[in-house]
């Protein structure tokens, strides 16, 4: 509270003016783009759109809903991965950059399992059974990876400054990437062909959703629901939240703090495993570097939602995924940005910068006062 009061009383510096300028500029650009886009939907020759980009096209409902569904299914996976960043941050206060690789392990082991099942004929005869087995294997492998890294790499560093486990996690991430390249060979590996009903569109209300995207949304939704139940409604979850807030007092309650930290890594790893196999189903292939970009974006999603806040991680993931998918057409094209469809990744990080400029604690973040973090 005292810092908040002090920062209000502090005279505004050049940097403050610059940040305010950035906030206004970014908000203005987003609003202009959106307005031009909306107007264009009504009147293709509207002066706002043609002023900057006379070539801008109207977006059909079909194309629009396709972008929304792609954005949400991609965002759901970011959300699942973001949960792991957020939970570990909540409990140990550092960013586990190896979490993207935990996700990659899920995608990789999912690829191995589903190819084996494909060879055995199960993939085509009984897809639901096959995918259930593949999800289980991915979840187990990712969970084990997360727990083992905690035990070997992070636990010995407990109590050292937060920068040290953070840098260690970058090392762990290289280690896992290279282990995968050594064991399985470098380069892209394919998932088996999905059954036809997953490649067709399924109509739900005004939406035509590709089967695999629906599968991704359903599995991600169920996993998030299960996680919410675990954290908010069970004794284990209560212990996790208590440890996140105050380890010393948690141990005074009789909670085994080390075991609770392991549980946190395990649950985060399981969610990354689910995301890994869903990624494989959606994009059909995986490399040892698959964890990198989704990992960084999921981390951004966790920050956008307010790091340490689980609902925020999910919301951040969905926000980031949909912005990535929609913003090129809705905001960038009317602004006349060339090559806007190639700018997905830039959009994700612009969203991060925008949120940090406007609400530094993230969408659902609470102010972490010194007292709270004691």
């Amino acid at each position: 509270m005292t810092t908040a009061m002090r920062s209000k009383a502090r005279p505004r510096t050049g940097v403050d003016w610059f940040l305010t300028f950035l906030r206004v500029l970014l908000t203005g650009l987003v609003l202009f783009g959106l307005l031009a886009f909306l107007w264009q939907q009504i009147d293709p020759d509207n002066p706002l759109a043609s002023a900057i980009n006379p070539d801008a096209n109207r977006l059909s409902w079909d194309a629009f809903q396709g972008l929304v569904i792609s954005g949400l299914s991609q965002g759901a996976m970011y959300g699942l991965i973001a949960l792991g960043y957020s939970m570990v941050y909540g409990v140990l206060g550092f960013i586990n950059f190896a979490h993207g690789e935990v996700f990659m392990v899920g995608a990789m082991t999912g690829m191995i399992t589903s190819n084996k099942l494909f060879e055995a004929g199960v993939w085509e005869d009984n897809f639901l059974l096959a995918i259930l087995i593949a999800v289980l294997v991915s979840v187990i492998c990712s969970t084990v990876t997360a727990v083992v890294t905690e035990r070997i790499a992070y636990r010995p560093l407990r109590g050292s400054p937060r920068l040290i486990p953070l840098i260690t996690s970058i090392g762990v991430s290289f280690f896992i990437q290279n282990t995968s390249a050594v064991l399985l060979g470098p380069g892209a590996k394919s998932y088996p062909r999905l059954p036809d009903w997953l490649r067709d569109d399924i109509g739900i209300g005004p939406f035509d959703i590709e089967g695999k995207k629906l599968l991704v949304l359903v599995v991600a939704g169920v996993s998030m629901g299960a996680l919410w139940y675990l954290v908010e409604r069970t004794k284990t979850g209560k212990a996790m939240r208590a440890v996140a807030e105050d380890k010393e007092i948690a141990s005074l309650m009789g909670i085994d703090v080390d075991r609770t930290i392991v549980t946190t890594f395990a649950v985060g790893g399981a969610m990354a495993g689910v995301a890994g196999i869903l990624w494989g189903i959606l994009f059909g292939s995986v490399t040892e570097f698959t964890g990198f970009l989704p990992g960084i974006k999921a981390f951004s999603a966790a920050v956008v939602g307010g790091i340490g806040n689980l609902g925020g991680a999910m919301a951040g993931g969905l926000t980031l995924g949909s912005s990535e998918s929609l913003a090129p057409q809705l905001v960038l094209e009317p602004l006349g940005v060339t090559g806007h469809t190639q700018l997905k990744d830039a959009v994700a990080f612009l969203v991060l910068i925008f949120v940090l400029l406007v609400k530094p604690t993230g969408l659902f973040g609470e102010r972490l006062s010194a007292e709270d973090r004691a």
């Binding site: 209560k238 939240r241 807030e245 005074l252 309650m253 909670i255």
Partner: protein, 246 residues
Amino acid sequence: MSEAVASPTPLLEFRGINTHYGAVHILKDVDLAIYPGELVCLLGGNASGKSTTLKTLLGMVTPTTGEVVLDGEVVNDKPTSYRVERGVTMVPENRRLFKRLTVKENLELGAYLRNDDGVESDLERIYEMFPRVKERLNQKSGTLSGGEQQMVAVGRALMANPRVLLMDEPSMGLAPALVQTNFELIQQIHEEGVAIFMVEQNANMALSIADRGWVLQTGRVVLDDSAEALLANPELRASYLGDGNR
């Protein structure tokens, strides 16, 4: 050591305890004994090692030499949970509620290690003791006033069904009007048969309800006597009781 109380085995005991933080020597050859059902207090100035004493009793800090004894058993290498299960709990300094958890969740965490079926009725007992708490069960505990937080902190400790309650400066940060109520509450808990080991700066108040007390000075026990004797001690009057009203 005065063997004023008849009961043969102390509930909790320090035998020649030394505690260090890194290279810094905090507790120096401390001997203490708390008997079942007693109300005792530990006095001492700032940074004299009072909180460290409580944390060492609970195993949140490990002593370098000496023995922590619970019911006659040396528990140095047993975790905190072992001691909590056997009836030792604490209301920590500054209460330290889980601020982002609800009042109900805080109380339930107090009973984390229990799986007997007395938990529900103990919750009811806490609600009876603190009707204010019952009205705020689903509120985040960080939003409570200082007095209400104190009630939840005491309630949370009682939910462990303790035989001895360690209290670290229970009147610190309370409005002056609440300090008296708080001491009455401590006496009430004591009358229900729970031993109390209280750390206080408010020496007058503490000694007026305690049976015995110790005075700690830079980690060493310098006085160990009955409450009446301590109240009458000229040295103590000069150093603590004189400004005990601040």
